[in-house]
Symmetry: D3
Subunit: 338 residues, 6 copies
């Protein structure tokens, strides 16, 4: 592999399933590499890749406690922890791990945060707020994280909140793959608001489908907001895209699409499946055919087996990226592009 520091992958408590799959894919890559390069005896190349041992405890007084249960001295550590709900607990756990790995003399610490928290609070929407996404970046850097990997954050400029290298990955190819079937040739990509137009346009280009933008405008009374549909959705299957679903306010706007002529069979492609009960309820709407999400966030069985939900995996992509970073190879074909 041409590397000097053993690779170690650890998982916080937020998505051990994903971490386990990443490790499996890494082991496959290692075996393939070794088969192709039997002469390579670089550090760690002859040991199976396994998930590092570490323990997160949530004390009864709600403090979080982490321990690393094996040597990490001089090793390259990847800690996988999406900051899904409960967000603050998962974030604090991640921060404590970064501190623990640094104090345990890890060589470099990569925070793999498939779901980056507070991504929509990336500027002050009005005066006297926090820029919470920057707070997260500031804290990670204050604890001396060495690199950050995340998927589909709300705004690309979030990269610039960091001084350390950031690898912005996207689940777009995985999610879009679901729609590469003849039945979707009459579909259109729908941005649920003007801020999502650019992200939607990347789906539109990838799938060669037209673009439609929903646009809420305040009416004359200055209070009610009315949704306009900009672009032509008539007789088309709407594929509504977004980065995160959360409370599912996007689901309440679908009627408007049909009102202006869309076919009453709506699909959604949303990277991060933060699925609140309200959102799950809203899926009952007969207009909705399918919600496609990725596995950046661990899902309970009820979601995994939900008839209207399809989950695509980013584990293999994460494994590839990790392998290449560790090998000093380029990942430019794998990261988010504009």
């Amino acid at each position: 592999m041409g590397t000097h520091h053993p690779l170690r992958v650890f998982s916080g408590s937020a998505n051990r399933t994903l971490a386990g799959q990443v490790v499996q894919h890494l082991e496959t890559l290692r075996v393939a590499h070794k088969a192709a390069h039997p002469e390579d005896d670089s550090i760690g190349i002859n040991e199976p890749v396994t998930l590092g041992r570490c323990t997160t405890k949530c004390f009864p007084d709600t403090e979080t406690h982490v321990t690393i249960d094996q040597v990490v001295r001089d090793q390259d550590v990847y800690i996988i922890q999406p900051c899904s709900p409960p967000v603050n607990n998962h974030l604090m756990e991640l921060l404590l791990y970064v501190d623990a790995f640094r104090r345990a003399s890890a060589h470099e610490i990569t925070a793999v945060i498939p779901y980056f928290p507070y991504a929509r609070q990336e500027r002050m929407a009005k005066s006297r707020e926090a820029i919470s996404a920057r707070v997260v970046a500031t804290m990670l850097e204050a604890l001396r994280v060495g690199r950050v990997i995340y998927f589909d954050v709300h705004v690309a400029a979030t990269q610039g909140f960091f001084n350390v290298p950031v690898d912005p990955l996207t689940a777009l190819p995985a999610l879009a793959g679901y729609f590469m079937k003849p039945e979707f040739q009459d579909a259109a990509i729908v941005a649920p608001d003007v801020g999502r137009a650019k992200f939607a346009s990347r789906y539109a280009e990838y799938l060669k489908l037209p673009l439609v933008v929903m646009h809420k405008r305040r009416e004359d009374d200055g209070k009610t907001k009315v949704t306009h549909v900009v672009g032509d959705i008539k007789d088309k299957i709407p594929i509504v895209i977004d980065d995160v679903i959360a409370g599912g306010s996007v689901l309440t706007q679908l009627d408007e699409l049909v009102r202006v002529g869309a076919r009453p069979e709506v699909y959604l492609a949303i990277t991060h499946g933060v699925l609140l009960p309200k959102a799950l309820d809203a899926l009952a709407n007969p207009l909705i055919r399918r919600l496609v999400i990725s596995d950046t966030i661990e899902q309970p069985p009820a979601v995994q087996s939900h008839p209207k939900i399809a989950i695509v995996s980013v584990a293999e992509l994460l494994a590839k990226v990790t392998w290449r970073i560790h090998s000093g190879a380029s990942i430019s074909d794998l990261i988010e592009k504009e």
Copy 2:
């Protein structure tokens, strides 16, 4: 007051009762000052002290959102937020407020954290842990807090985790005041473990009572730990002191005191009333006469009206400290001493 920047006190969501009382005491101090110095027309001296307007929201996806609802430009801001359970939520809320106040151009931000979180994780108890109390300090400083005020942290050296000024207050006089009655002249101060011996010795000196130290030692088999009582508790009323009660493991050791001769009427004086259900249950033990705590942490009605619990207030002390800091006066008679 001789000051240039208006004083503003804000409260996070953790203990608005305490913040409200601090503000009332401040207003009393202001009125008294104005009566004594009618010629003083320094900034803000003629306006009543009120609690600043700000709003904390907990979004359904568990992200925290804060807004400041009035101008704070060029003002000296005190934000009161004990990081009681749920610790990570209260801590993140505090951090977001610090960011918001700084971005809103507050002149100086003082984090008043009556209960400082992760105080017992102030060193690595074993290898490869986080020093979580330092993580908290590092994050507050990365967001440019200007000063920190807290009560009775586990270890005095925690001050040194900060570069900014720290004012370490103590609830000891308030709690000890409870015991300044003739009936306690035969009492003894009990440190529940050797690490608490120094803190206990301050109670002993304050109340002029003898000191006893409980000491757990591993037995020959290397596993069981046996509690020894160092010092003479015979026929004395034990007053067990501690900084935080939490799960109440201290409550399970009381029988040993009686076994070696203590009177079967145990009192506890504990600064921070983190009271888990288990601890509340343990209070049923007939040996226990009274648990005295302070109001650094907001308590539910069940605790407030609990027949075995007495609550003493630190609000007036906090108000005095705030007033003096704001006036550029000395607080050295009010802070924790050794």
Copy 3:
């Protein structure tokens, strides 16, 4: 004014006209304030506001040299310097001024950068680029700027590149004011690409006009990009908005608007008049009726008297913001909103 540090406004060499006007407006505000509050004798309130004396030299070897020609010790300094072309010279001049003011013991330094440089390089568009806007922020902060004020940067999250307070102003009301006439009631706001949709929607809402989004999509051959017009522009007057015009590539897309039915009389409302020769040439296109820009950037006489160009001023807004910041008053009604 209730302030402790005298206000001083300085100008770099990039736009002394704007700085001069800001100072005049400030003097008007001072006189009005004094008339309304004759009893106010706070520092500086009785002296006219004038432009601070400082000198920029460009040495023959192309190094920049700055001197401050009056005392600034303990004063609040505002240095106005849009980083218009030649961008790197204007930026370096600004950075040297920040260093000089700090070393001369100014109390606080506010960098007023009406045109923020490198604003469109706010993320890595592809791998292995700089995030140049963050480089600018990092350098300003390394030299300890105290606050930044700018107009209409490309992406709102640029605020988060800074730890210090940023006041993001917008020329939108000034530019939109031009279109508040009956003749534009059949107009539509046009975003020249999907990334501008959100900015355009703010014009649409302000003027209560419909929104149209231009969208370039790569065709089947993977090379040619074809512009689609999303939304209904038929028989409408297009008002194309943008933050900066630069080379004027936006001007080459206007035919497409007319091709899909727009009225052949196009208006443009663009904050920053970076006007390259190519752009000036393109204005000859008879489709174009008027280009409305602000005075964030100093314009040569040829532009000032150009028959198709209208310039609106942000000087009064800047003066108001400066005055209020200096007085500790709220500016939330004046800053960019979402």
Copy 4:
């Protein structure tokens, strides 16, 4: 050894004897490793470990001057320098070495400070003092030390003064080893004050001996302090423990132990032999049988041959720790535990 950067051990002027012994032990470890792993040809594994060449001069004007007399580029440097008296000279010498090593492009610099200075000034004992131990940490980190190793600092939380990894070693096993003889089965461990109770309890557990705590309390007049002995020392041999002896105030309290019944043969086990003349004089007290210290501090011949002083060495432990750190192996069984 599996390492990439040659290991180099340097010594400041404070304890070249200890440094020389550490290097000898490292060479023994290297030879043993090579014998066990003849195939290992990692960097430096075939060269003897020797003490690096560097020169400290104390100029006549009392300025310190350091030079490194061999290449250290890309090497892992360990600089051994206990900050024994004259403390400020030894500390400044260490700081200058860290600067020199960094500027000479060493890969990582480990400050091995067997005696960490200002360890007892780890919090403000009263208002308006320095936290001197943090000052030391801040300066070492400002000069970019990469790791710190020390022995038995006064308070464990001192670790948290650093952001870089700290390896807190203890001389306890070496010192306690002295007492693992049948003649000490009736001994008791004595903490000379309440702040040392925890440290003493570790000796008590290690040697399975009872614990006694001395406790000074201010009397009614508020001035005199009287020493109380908490716990049962009757007919026992007192082994008084401490981290540093310095002026030897501990030696003046021994009579009190005998007064309450201890056997008149007192032993002391103290890590750091800072031995002022006053302390050496006090050793004449016939109650004192033996003072056991470690070699963290270099001792003059008069101490080395003193009939009442025994010196145990930490050189082998330091060599082991260094070897393992350099090999990326765990040292968790060698560091201070709680």
Copy 5:
């Protein structure tokens, strides 16, 4: 005075005489100011300026301990401490004071270091040394000093080692004043080596005297260094200038001046009187008429009454500078110029 934070002057232990005189001059300035501006009632203007109360202890174990014995909260603190021999003790004392003042919430801390230590170690003279003057600057800034004032450092660029404002003062006018008598109209200024040529040229210009430069050159054997005298000293009185005398190697070169024709009556004007015994001895050389030094460093009686030594004071200059900084006035006519 137009200032908001009371002025407080403190003295470390290095030169309390100078500090006392500075305070007296400040009091004179205050009284004069008040007489001229009786209406001025700004903070502190009605109280006499006195020396702040603080205590430095040197513990028997050679650790330094400092306490501040009065409130400094929100005050502007000037701590006067030349880092004369013992340099490291005086430097550490200064650093501890900076830490103590910051933790005691001083508003701004100015380190007045009349003799800046390690000034001649301002670059690596050969490979693998420390840049010790930068180490001092780095440490002062790490502890958050707010401003530095010093006299005649070896190299002007030392200013640039700091990010905070530096006021570089010079004793040149005071020292040169001594030579403004007719008897020196045939004198010449002598730079003792080429590195001092620039400093000497400032004396030459100030006194309108010719300049001579001594220049040591290695001879053909590559070892012996021979001193050349560049310029015309024939029949002139040499006035040898330097920043610091220290060991007095400059005194050993004087014969060479006479050898090439200088009058055998040599004067020296040297800012900092670091006077080692060797230097005092060398003064016996009958060639030497007078050594003029300043009082940046406190001198023992033997020096004060030495028949060949004249001492001029910088106290009034320091008081003026302090007063003006505190009043927000310009000091540009008082600082070192080029």
Copy 6:
């Protein structure tokens, strides 16, 4: 080579010729090394050294844009960019490259700046200026450069503006080599002003020639400055040395040398050939025989073929230094000495 990270040399746009030659010399060194050590198979030792691919664009709006066109992950990057005129553009280009390399995960970034910009603004010559050379250092460090290499900066202390290692190279041996011919045995080294005396003395020692110092002194009227020649130039060939020529003010002083007796055939040895038109014109002066410069700055053909200009190369020296740094070998014999 014993190294772990591949060596990559990149060039900005300022001097691709020099960069190309450095790469050629490196390849020669690699081939020679491999021939001498055929068994060495360390990373990269078997691939030819070539110039890394990267692209600088100057956009029409004068913003600079850089891209790195190959993987640099985990590699040791040397970016060669003298900041010759246009200084600010070349400097900004360098800063953007440092940002881009860091974000692309280069292992260590060495900025090779043969001509360091703003070197003569290394202190405040008068009040209220920037210390521009420190601004450059601060910005490079804020972007996390790992090491800096430059040639002949104006003042050696500039090293101390950096915390990272600086390798100060000198073109002196290359330039002085030109004069090691018998015809120059009657020459003298001339420092054009007192500030250059030390630099000149190094030439004097290297070539064993006498030293002369020019010295401008203000006359009685306080305005005119008159040049004095200190030292004996009679009948000697003057070799005037300097670090940079720029506007060529040095060229206007040459008549004075001849006036006091120098032979009317003046040579100049000047490291950095910043040659403004004015300077080129001044070369016509018949007194001037030859101007010897180095190739730190790329020269246009008119200079390269100028009959009075000789250019010596530093490419081989730079290659040697780079090779040794990369190999972990000493460069102390190659760097600037004093």
